[in-house]
Amino acid sequence: NAGVTQTPKFRILKIGQSMTLQCAQDMNHNYMYWYRQDPGMGLKLIYYSVGAGITDKGEVPNGYNVSRSTTEDFPLRLELAAPSQTSVYFCASSYGTDTYGYTFGSGTRLTVV
């Protein structure tokens, strides 16, 4: 019972580089989410998906892209990394609507230098 798996756990990027943060869940959850956590700011929603093939923007989508080709996977793409994207990124999933509560991954700590 892996739950929500995020890779990598840590990454240092140079300004302008690109990378994909991976997120996979094995609970057959339809809903998946990407949040970023900055100190003292709580969690901000980047993108979310209510099912395979369906994605929507959250509060802070600029600089990011997502895709949802399968129920299990929800990768987050950074195309041109900027220092403002230094953060801890959390992926989460939920069954049905989010009123069931989220299952979170352990996070990816990203530093852009």
Binding site: G42, L45, G101, F104, S106, G107
Partner: protein
């Protein structure tokens, strides 16, 4: 737009003392309310939730929260804290309409001292 305010960024308390972590939200429609806990270097875990019915909800480890519609609050309480309760606590809200995702508060760091 909905928002969540956690008034206290840090709450220091001695072991076995009571604690209250405050959460207020703004919304003109029905809401679902949640408290999540984050231990160091981990993801968030659901602590308790209010969806409907009784306004007082409890968790398995002694925390409780009360939904107060008139004051738009969902404060978290525990009558006697333990060292192991040291963590960051996040209040979250989702409106009954609109975006199907949670909006989180900025978090409260609970520091339990011996």
């Amino acid at each position: 737009a909905q928002s969540v305010t956690q008034l206290d960024s840090q709450v220091p308390v001695f072991e076995e003392a009571p604690v209250e972590l405050r959460c207020n939200y703004s919304s003109s429609v029905s809401v679902y309310l949640f408290w999540y806990v984050q231990y160091p270097n981990q993801g968030l875990q659901l602590l308790l939730k209010y969806l409907s019915g009784s306004t007082l909800v409890e968790s398995i480890n002694g925390f409780e929260a009360e939904f107060n519609k008139s004051q738009t609050s969902f404060h978290l309480r525990k009558p006697s804290v333990h060292i192991s309760d040291t963590a960051e606590y996040f209040c979250a809200v989702r409106m009954d309409t609109g975006r199907r995702a949670l909006t989180f508060g900025s978090g409260t760091r609970l520091q339990v001292q011996p």
